[in-house]
């Protein structure tokens, strides 16, 4: 069974990564995902962003279920 997760990037993060979405083999947790992303996109290491899993902000390391949507959110600047 495939165990992919869907990544969405926004704002400055998407610009620096050069893409707005990608699929990854599920690394199991948000901390592992960050390491994976830092390895693939070193530019992210110096950037501030938070993670939302299935549209909910995640502050602490959390498990990732297969098929989840993880969004990389730079600081908000609406209004």
């Amino acid at each position: 069974m495939s165990n992919l997760i869907h990544i969405k990037a926004f704002g400055m993060i998407a610009e620096k990564m050069g893409k707005v979405s990608l699929e990854l083999e599920n690394p199991g947790s948000t901390a592992a995902l960050k390491n994976e992303l830092f390895a693939q996109f070193p530019v992210l290491k110096s950037m501030k962003f938070s993670l939302a899993v299935n549209k909910k902000l995640v502050m602490e390391d959390s498990e990732l279920a297969p098929g989840v949507e993880v969004a990389l959110l730079p600081p908000f600047s609406g209004g």
């Binding site: 939302a52 730079p74 600081p75 908000f76 600047s77 609406g78 209004g79």
Partner: protein, 148 residues
Amino acid sequence: MEKERKPKNIFVQGPISPEKIANSIANHASKTDIGGHSIFLGQIRADQKQEGKVIAIDYTAYEEMALEKAFEIREAIFAKYPLTCMHIYHSLGEIKVGEICLFVFTSSKHRKAAMQACDESVERIKAELPIWGKEILDTEGNVWKVNT
């Protein structure tokens, strides 16, 4: 009877027109239990940056999450203040300086509730909605906006 509230689309493609705002006010004429409205309008400012002068802001959003969050804010504000109604509109896409990009409209029987609810909503919208503004400069460069 308490009306069931569902997530509404808050996004408007392009600037929010003064006509839309005027119509929105006019639409409340039939709600005669309202005694006060409070309106906040966010307008694009021609900031002078080191790299150039701002001529527009290009807004993007994580729309699905923003709508869920806007609904959550709306429910919390309705629970906290005795409001008759509340409307939130935010622009997406390129909005030029002088144009309106945010419209928050609260109404209540007495003015204080509308004013406080409007103020708190604007603060929460700016802090909690996943929306990003890229400032377009007259030098053809751009800078990601930072909320202060």
